[in-house]
């Protein structure tokens, strides 16, 4: 009788386990990455002076011939004349602004839709860590949804590429690892290129004292790279009590077009 009861119990538990809904990522599996929560800003310890200087010590991407040609064509398109305002070659009097932006606050590949959550610029980024989703919010617009519940990427034939792409994450050795694809075609830091098919693997590593974040980037696409394109950014944690700033840009305000610095000719 005792054996029968034990057998019955085992069967019942086995049946229950078989038909219960699959568990979502439990809070325990997030252990370690809660330390990511908060506010971070790029440290750029390796160079400065201009945007090129910031990445001058990165290993340049090793592109396939076809990808190099695609990138050159893309750059030519991006470098096309940007409007009549840029033909202004006369020095202005003091107090007379230069018109340097034709369409301020316009949507574009950067600064909207969470695109700056990948390779952030000087604006801060903010993490919120919750059990089924991590939010990475770049201060200059939009958010990245990083799904932590084990879901897969969508079929790209049913996905409209975005600046932030589609991201799924998991925890490995207490570090957040994120796989992203479905990003719009465009340039990548240090001479790289990408299409929606390109995979970006990011690994977010918080220092033992919790004050430094290293984001390791690995762009993987055999059609584009002769070997995976890798580099890293370093960010400092903002002081306790920091908060997200609002990026206000009013396209109707003429001052958004102006600068006291002459535009490049």
């Amino acid at each position: 009788m005792k054996a029968a009861c034990v057998t019955a119990g085992i069967l019942a538990v086995a049946l229950a386990a078989a038909v219960r809904p699959s568990a979502q990522t439990s809070p325990e599996t997030l252990k370690g990455i809660e330390r990511l929560e908060g506010d971070w800003v790029r440290a750029d310890p390796n160079g400065s002076g201009d945007f090129g200087g910031l990445t001058s010590k990165f290993t340049p991407a090793s592109l396939t011939p076809q990808a190099a040609a695609d990138m050159q064509a893309g750059r030519r398109a991006a470098g096309a004349p940007r409007g009549p305002a840029y033909t202004d070659d006369k020095p202005h009097e003091a107090g007379q602004a230069y018109i340097v932006v034709q369409k301020p606050c316009a949507p574009g590949p950067f600064g909207s839709g969470g695109a700056l959550g990948i390779n952030p610029d000087s604006g801060a980024i903010h993490f919120v860590i919750s059990k089924n989703e991590v939010i990475l919010a770049p201060e200059r617009g939009g958010i990245r949804h990083i799904y932590m519940d084990g879901r897969k990427h969508p079929d790209l034939s049913r996905w409209t590429p975005t600046g932030a792409g589609h991201s799924v994450g998991y925890v490995e050795n207490g570090e957040l690892v994120v796989d992203t694809m479905g990003i719009t075609t465009g340039g990548v830091t240090a001479g790289g290129w990408r299409t929606p098919e390109t995979h970006l693997i990011e690994r977010f590593v918080v220092s033992p004292d919790g004050q430094r974040l290293t984001i390791n980037y690995r762009w993987d696409d055999a059609k584009i790279y002769q070997k995976p394109h890798e580099y890293h950014y370093e960010l400092d944690r903002l002081p306790a009590g920091s908060y997200a700033f609002e990026e206000w840009c009013d396209a109707s305000d003429p001052i958004e077009q102006q600068s006291v610095v002459p535009p490049p000719q």
Binding site: A12, P21, I135, A137, I143, Y147, D149, F245, A251
Partner: protein, 251 residues
């Protein structure tokens, strides 16, 4: 003995199956008549949609100084903000017509309406930033605390003119406005009630309270790629119009 064994197995299977169905139903918020809630009342993380029937908004009691002309001016400026794709800010961020992603972290709750480039940050267990250093914003400075099963969010520091300033039920926000919100889960976690109470010595004769009830979307929901607002889309601009063109005084 064999018959007895079979009976025990069958009974155990039925019990196990019943437990499984019950657990599954409760996990889906469908448990019937359970004494204790089958959900974590603090787990407001998820995607939420505000249905048409989810708004209960009485008319605000406004101060006598608030004239129809003032309300009309704010309405025109709201149209201007929409036309030029300005950040809408609170309160519009809570009724954009798109799902809202709310995620609760250890120190911060983020409230991110789909397609809105500026999410709200609700900082847990903090004090407000000093007004000496805080630059007023369309979303304001929000701090949050749990009071039992209710998340109480306190927001100050609104910008007086930026974004959409009109408040549901009447009135508009100023840099003196104070908003208190109470978030509570209802219906086994399937519904999120948010009550909004606005006070402002420049606008309201009495605290103005209204309630929105949001429905939880499936956990598998994913936001669609956003149709980004383009202020240079001429067709769109012509359709909306601009009844309050930019003047420096409105900054």
């Amino acid at each position: 003995m064999k018959k007895r064994f079979t009976s025990v197995v069958v009974a155990a299977l039925i019990a196990g199956g019943a437990w499984t169905i019950s657990t599954y139903a409760q996990a889906r918020g469908q448990g019937a008549g359970a004494a204790a809630p089958a959900f974590d009342p603090h787990d407001i993380s998820g995607f939420w949609i505000l249905p048409a029937e989810g708004k209960k908004v009485p008319a605000a009691k406004l101060l006598p100084r608030i004239t129809k002309a003032m309300l009309d001016l704010h309405a025109r400026r709201d149209t201007h903000a929409v036309r030029w794709c300005n950040l809408p800010g609170v309160p519009f961020a809570m009724e954009t017509g798109t799902p809202i992603d709310i995620r609760v972290g250890p120190t911060t709750i983020i409230v991110a309406p789909e397609g809105d480039p500026a999410p709200r940050y609700l900082y847990l267990g903090r004090k407000h930033v000093s007004p000496d250093v805080y630059d007023n914003s369309t979303n304001g400075d929000s701090i949050a605390n749990w009071e039992g099963d209710a998340l109480v969010v306190d927001t100050v520091g609104f910008h007086a003119t930026r974004g959409i300033t009109s408040i549901p039920g009447g009135g508009f926000k100023t840099d003196k406005s104070h908003l208190q919100e109470r978030y509570r889960l209802l219906a086994n976690g399937r519904v999120l009630s948010v009550t909004f109470t606005w006070t402002d010595p420049m606008v309201f004769a009495a605290p103005h309270t209204y309630e929105f009830r949001y429905n939880r979307l499936p956990a598998t929901y994913e936001p669609a790629p956003a149709f980004e607002c383009d202020p240079y889309d001429e067709t769109r601009a012509a359709f909306i119009g601009d009844p309050a063109p930019f003047t420096p005084a409105t900054k």
